[in-house]
């Protein structure tokens, strides 16, 4: 690779930016609902389900995400000799991120659900709401309001964590910045990458604040 202009570098980085955003969006889209399902498993009266889910959450929280990504990517071949193409890199990234973040979200949901006063359930029961209605109409909306600050924390961490996809050579922002910086012997890609993550998180913070404000119509 020859010398590139700043513009050319930015163009290359922009491609990586797209991939980073893709990882971010896919992870949230799937881990937020999956986290709720896992939270139910964690609170299940069935001891077996509860134990399995507890173990899963402790592994997800207790080992590095980078290691989990590698296991998801290399596992199929090392364990089952399943040949995976290079297209699996991005999929493995998605899967790794989703199952990791779902575990964190599950614990956040659980804390929110368990902090709800029992009176809300009793009122719903007396008024004749079924279990489904009680949860989705009465409990969950209030839980979401309560847990929003913790969710914001996780989402901001996720923005920065997308850079871990470089371990699977996924061409996201950070991998490209690293490659460019090396080939161009130049700090600019790192500065640009830093700016990208910072501005991304600024937008996330503004967006989450907006949602929090939207939910301030009640206390």
């Amino acid at each position: 690779m020859g010398k590139m202009t700043i513009q050319q570098m930015i163009m290359q980085l922009a491609g990586g930016m797209g991939t980073s955003i893709q990882i971010f969006v896919v992870t949230l889209l799937f881990s937020l609902p999956l986290g709720l399902v896992i939270a139910f498993g964690r609170m299940s009266k069935n001891r077996l389900i509860q134990t399995i889910v507890k173990f899963y959450i402790s592994v997800m929280r207790g080992t590095p995400l980078m290691l989990q990504l590698m296991v998801v990517y290399f596992g199929p071949y090392y364990l089952f000799r399943v040949k995976v193409g290079s297209g699996y890199r991005l999929w493995a990234t998605f899967i790794g991120f989703v199952i990791n973040y779902a575990a964190y979200f599950a614990e956040i949901y659980r804390s929110g659900i368990q902090s709800m006063p029992v009176g809300q359930y009793e009122a719903a029961q007396i008024l004749g709401y079924n279990k489904f209605q009680t949860f989705f109409k009465i409990i969950l909306p209030q839980v979401i309001k309560r847990i929003l600050p913790s969710i914001t924390n996780e989402v901001i961490t996720l923005v920065k964590d997308t850079s871990l996809a470089f371990t699977l050579s996924v061409a996201e922002m950070f991998s490209i910045a690293k490659a460019l910086a090396a080939s161009q012997t130049n700090m600019i890609p790192f500065v640009a990458a830093g700016l990208f993550y910072y501005i991304f998180n600024l937008l996330v913070a503004v967006g989450m604040e907006w949602i929090e404000k939207k939910m301030n119509y009640y206390r």
Partner: protein
């Protein structure tokens, strides 16, 4: 037919026996107050009658339909889900701390269950809800949220919410215990005004003057048993030693 029958209800929390062989009934349109010292089992009785608490043994019958009975092993057996749901639609409950849904406006608190549980027609539900709000003196509060209301207003919304489902019997679990004397007055006034709706009411209360004034029948509970039961005049003028010691001061004031 009796609206509600409780027969031989027993309930313990661990080693603590809270209800000992309680039997009582409520007739259509009747107003019954349950009074007694704290910890006498009044609220637990109400919670057993409304199925928020499962009793250990005994019978709960609404309009001749059995919601629960004592099985052969001496433990309470509850009716199936569908039967319980139908029985449940006969009664409502007003809680001590209101338990309004904070994320619903006043109007939605009242209309949501009639619309989505009873699946009634939107127009009539809203019309009735607004009538109820007017009756409660809250016609200008339908768009407010519970946090914007005083405790007394919250409790009146909770009463409207319970009434919106057209119950035959309405239970009140110490409806004014979380309120100051001024707010207590406004809530009691509202409950009194319901007397002409001919809904049966069972009121657990510490407001003796109110109980004496509004009730057709007063039940005095202590230590998990019904000590005495009768018209307000009978109970408030009772010779029973336990009743006397509880009501003593009220007897002389009233």
């Amino acid at each position: 037919m009796k609206l509600l029958e409780l027969n031989h209800v027993e309930k313990s929390f661990g080693d603590l026996c809270v209800l000992k062989d309680i039997s009582m009934s409520v007739e259509e349109g009747e107003i019954v107050s349950i009074i007694g010292p704290s910890g006498s089992g009044k609220s637990t009785l109400l919670r057993c009658a409304t199925m928020l608490e499962t009793m250990d043994s005994g019978e709960v019958i609404y309009l001749g339909r059995k919601a629960a009975w004592t099985g052969q092993d001496g433990r309470a057996v509850y009716a199936g889900k569908k039967e319980l749901k139908e029985i449940q639609s006969q009664y409502g409950l007003v809680f001590q701390n209101f338990n309004l849904f904070p994320h619903f406006s006043v109007l939605k608190n009242i209309t949501d269950a009639p619309l989505h549980v009873q699946k009634r027609d939107k127009e009539s539900v809203y019309r009735e809800a607004r009538e109820l709000l007017k009756k409660m003196g809250l016609e200008d509060k339908e768009d407010a949220y519970p946090y914007q209301l005083s405790g007394g207003q919250c409790q009146r919304v909770a009463i409207a919410r319970a009434l919106a489902l057209n119950p035959k019997i309405l239970f009140f679990d110490e409806p004014t215990s979380a309120l100051d004397p001024e707010l207590t007055g406004e809530v009691l006034k509202v409950i009194k005004s319901l007397a002409d709706l001919h809904i049966a009411m069972v009121i657990v209360t510490h407001e003796m003057a109110f109980a004496k004034d509004i009730s057709d029948r007063v039940i005095f509970m202590a230590g998990g048993v019904i000590v005495e039961e009768g018209t307000p005049q009978q109970v408030f003028a009772s010779d029973n030693e336990r009743t006397q010691s509880f009501l003593g001061r009220y007897g002389t004031i009233l």
